[in-house]
């Protein structure tokens, strides 16, 4: 096994590991907003490491360009989707779980609550 393949497989497995961690977080975190944080791990570093590992396997071919496009699309769309999700959840009346000594009233006066 060449050194490039070792690097590639290491990156792919690291990416799969981060995806697993994120999925466990999505399963176990208490509310939507903390689950979003956990899903962000898989969308950024999980996708990056898996696709980077595959890029090492692809070499300088057309597949490399396609992998780069997939990564760019994922990195542009997933923050947008997360932002829209947080906005929708906030407008939809889902209140974030806070620590006991933090009152939700501190956040009521934000400009986003003008509707």
């Amino acid at each position: 096994m060449s050194i490039v393949e070792i690097v590639a497989y290491t990156l792919v497995f690291l990416g799969a590991f981060f995806c697993l961690v994120g999925a466990i977080g999505v399963l176990r975190f208490p509310d939507v907003y903390s689950r979003m944080h956990s899903a962000g791990i898989t969308d950024t570093i999980g996708a990056l490491l898996v696709l980077l590992g595959l890029a090492f396997l692809a070499g300088w071919t057309l597949a490399l360009v396609k992998l780069a496009f997939i990564l760019v699309f994922l990195w542009m769309t997933s923050p947008t989707a997360t932002h829209a999700l947080a906005k929708a959840a906030r407008h939809g009346g889902v209140e974030p779980k806070l620590a006991d000594d933090v009152a939700m009233d501190d956040f009521k006066e934000t400009p986003s609550s003008n509707r």
């Binding site: 995806c19 697993l20 939507v32 899903a39 699309f73 994922l74 997933s78 829209a84 939809g92």
Partner: protein, 95 residues
């Protein structure tokens, strides 16, 4: 070797599917479905290299875009509470 990573991604998709079925609010379900779609893209990319047919990457590319459009569309619908969103569809619209 890559099959192991693909199996791990499949496990991730299973865990996320549990959240999509359990999720108390509709936003939990949308979050889980969005993540499921992202993992599908990664699985397709892995599949392209497992089978050695790099054309499958095109499907992954298309899936990444379709997944995003679908999630945004569903979120726009649910942002102000389901059916009431249809009532205000013809009214003033922000953004």
């Amino acid at each position: 070797m890559l099959v192991g990573a693909a199996v791990a991604i499949l496990v991730v998709m299973g865990l996320v599917l549990i959240r999509a079925l359990k999720g108390p609010t509709v936003y939990d379900r949308i979050l889980a479905v969005n993540m499921f779609g992202t993992k599908t893209v990664l699985l397709l990319a892995l599949l392209a290299f497992i089978t050695g047919r790099h054309d499958v990457l095109d499907i992954a590319l298309a899936y990444a875009l379709i997944n995003f459009i679908g999630v945004i569309a569903v979120l726009r619908f649910f942002e102000y509470g389901g059916e009431t969103a249809l009532a205000t569809e013809n009214g003033e619209d922000e953004t």
